[in-house]
């Protein structure tokens, strides 16, 4: 119910803010895509539909009015499912494998696993520097090398990292980073393993 209210509020506010454009390129673009794309494998045509957050980011050029951003961010934050056992730290070795693996969620993959039958990857190294041994890292995201060493290993930091991986948009509404828990890409156990990769003092990230 709350989600709905906030969405309507966001959409209405933005409709007013952005209705000035003379030609509706956005409407044309969406209609064109709906006409041209087809479902393939697990990638259904519904993936073309924006959720409230995507809509707000798209309509505002990833720079939504502050009030709208705060309310939607809060909405995302409240929907994060933290582990029931209250533990955030998994196995950093398993986390390293998840961070390395870039497969999953494309039309070649299967529901919940990659085309090779492995669990979905987090594609972390695609965008972030993480462990020092891997030099083939991407640069879209910030460097996470020495993350725990720099930020500390405390419970609050663990909880923050879990939440950030689960739903990066709860902290920065139009962040480039996918919502790995929210989208069903990674499981609770996998996210815990990634938290350990960044925050276990024994992880090579902190060596």
């Amino acid at each position: 119910m709350k989600t709905l209210q906030v969405s309507i509020f966001g959409a209405a506010a933005l409709a007013i803010a952005f209705s000035a454009g003379a030609q509706d390129y956005r409407g044309q673009a969406i209609n064109m895509m709906k006409q041209d794309f087809h479902a393939k494998g697990i990638a259904g045509i519904d993936r073309l539909n924006e959720d409230a957050l995507q809509l707000v980011c798209n309509r505002s050029g990833n720079n939504p009015p502050k009030g709208v951003a705060e309310r939607l961010q809060q909405d995302q934050f409240e929907a994060i499912k933290y582990p029931a056992d209250g533990k955030f730290l998994g196995d950093w070795k398993a986390g390293e494998k998840i961070a390395q693996r870039g497969r999953g969620m494309t039309w070649k993959d299967k529901a919940g696993k990659t085309s090779r039958g492995e669990p979905n990857g987090g594609s972390c190294y695609n965008c972030h520097q993480i462990g020092a041994a891997t030099t083939s890292f991407g640069t879209i995201g910030n460097s996470l090398l020495h993350f725990g060493k720099i930020r500390g290993y405390g419970a609050d930091t663990q909880k923050y990292v879990y939440g950030k991986i689960y739903n990066a948009k709860a902290f920065n509404l139009c962040s480039n980073m996918p919502r790995f828990g929210h989208s069903g890409t990674l499981t609770e156990t996998q996210i815990k393993d990634l938290v350990a990769l960044l925050l276990d003092p024994n992880s090579p990230v902190n060596k």
Binding site: F37, L48, Q54, G61, T135, P178, R179, T185
Partner: protein, 289 residues
């Protein structure tokens, strides 16, 4: 004849790759250090620089040229249910005019009432002039294994006829200006499981995925980098690919559903990228990593 030449080329490029891989291994520790330094400064990675050198050598005898030869043969041969050649196909500069046509595409075609990129227009000609079925052409439109679809070779031939010419994607017609704007909107449209748009990877300067440099397609320099080299002989898998394949595989990795082959959406996106690349010289079909 051309299939023999092709095999020799594939064997040669395989050998060259093996040599390059060895050279890379030997230089690995040094390179890793240089790369880490480069990553911090945001400059071009050492691996990418190495590849550019290798590409320079390869381009002197580019495998892409073999596909140009095949495409020329296909262009001039009477084929299809209507037993016609493509020599009357109008790529925008008049029937049969190929010189400089590729660098002025996509454009608006009044006969079709549509925006068309090179491949979309060639498919249109294959359907209208030769009587091929559009659905059949869309069934397996990308190179795979030994299968090289006819439109791939044809696009490569047509692109070769613009080698060394300035990119000048037109914006005179209202529909062409509209296509640029709609293309730009699709480029920035975030959706799907991972909230990605084209711009998530191609909207900023100096970014990489793993070691792969990502051209910023909203900038002039980035757009030319992407326009350049397609159609391209891709050394990963040893296959000839066109921009249609590139766009398709980008959408796959964007975690989107699949775009239609030679669709309006792709023509609009290519208009956005092409216009951004205007003014630069197109070097012709090339070699990709």
């Amino acid at each position: 004849m051309s299939s023999i030449k092709l095999r020799v080329f594939v064997a040669l490029s395989g050998l060259a790759l093996a040599c390059a891989a060895q050279a890379q291994q030997a230089a690995a520790p040094k390179k890793a250090a240089a790369q880490a330094k480069n990553a911090a400064s945001g400059s071009k990675s050492a691996i990418a620089a190495e590849f550019e050198k290798f590409r320079g050598i390869m381009e002197d005898a580019s495998p892409a040229e073999l596909f140009e030869v095949k495409g020329e043969e296909l262009w001039k041969t009477k084929r299809g249910p209507k037993n016609a050649s493509l020599e009357k196909c109008d790529l925008g500069l008049g029937p049969g005019v190929l010189k400089g046509a590729y660098v002025k595409l996509p454009r608006y075609f009044a006969d079709a009432g549509q925006m068309m990129d090179a491949e979309r227009r060639i498919v249109y000609c294959m359907v209208t002039l030769q009587g091929f079925n559009e659905k059949d052409l869309a069934k397996q439109p990308f190179s795979k294994g030994r299968h090289v679809p006819d439109p791939v070779a044809l696009v490569t031939y047509v692109a070769g006829q613009s080698r060394g010419m300035k990119i000048a994607v037109p914006q005179k017609h209202a529909k062409e200006r509209e296509a640029y704007k709609v293309g730009e909107t699709i480029f920035n449209y975030r959706a799907g499981a991972w909230d990605f748009s084209c711009a998530s990877c191609h909207g900023e300067d100096g970014k990489r995925i793993r070691t792969q440099d990502l051209p910023n397609l909203s900038s002039k320099q980035g757009a030319i980098a992407a326009f350049q080299g397609w159609p391209g002989y891709r050394m990963t898998g040893g296959l000839m690919h066109t921009l249609q394949w590139r766009m398709n595989d980008c959408f796959r990795q964007q975690r989107f559903p699949e775009p239609g082959y030679a669709s309006q959406t792709i023509a609009n996106l290519l208009t956005y990228m092409g216009v951004n690349a205007n003014g630069h010289v197109y070097k012709g079909p090339g070699i990709k990593r």
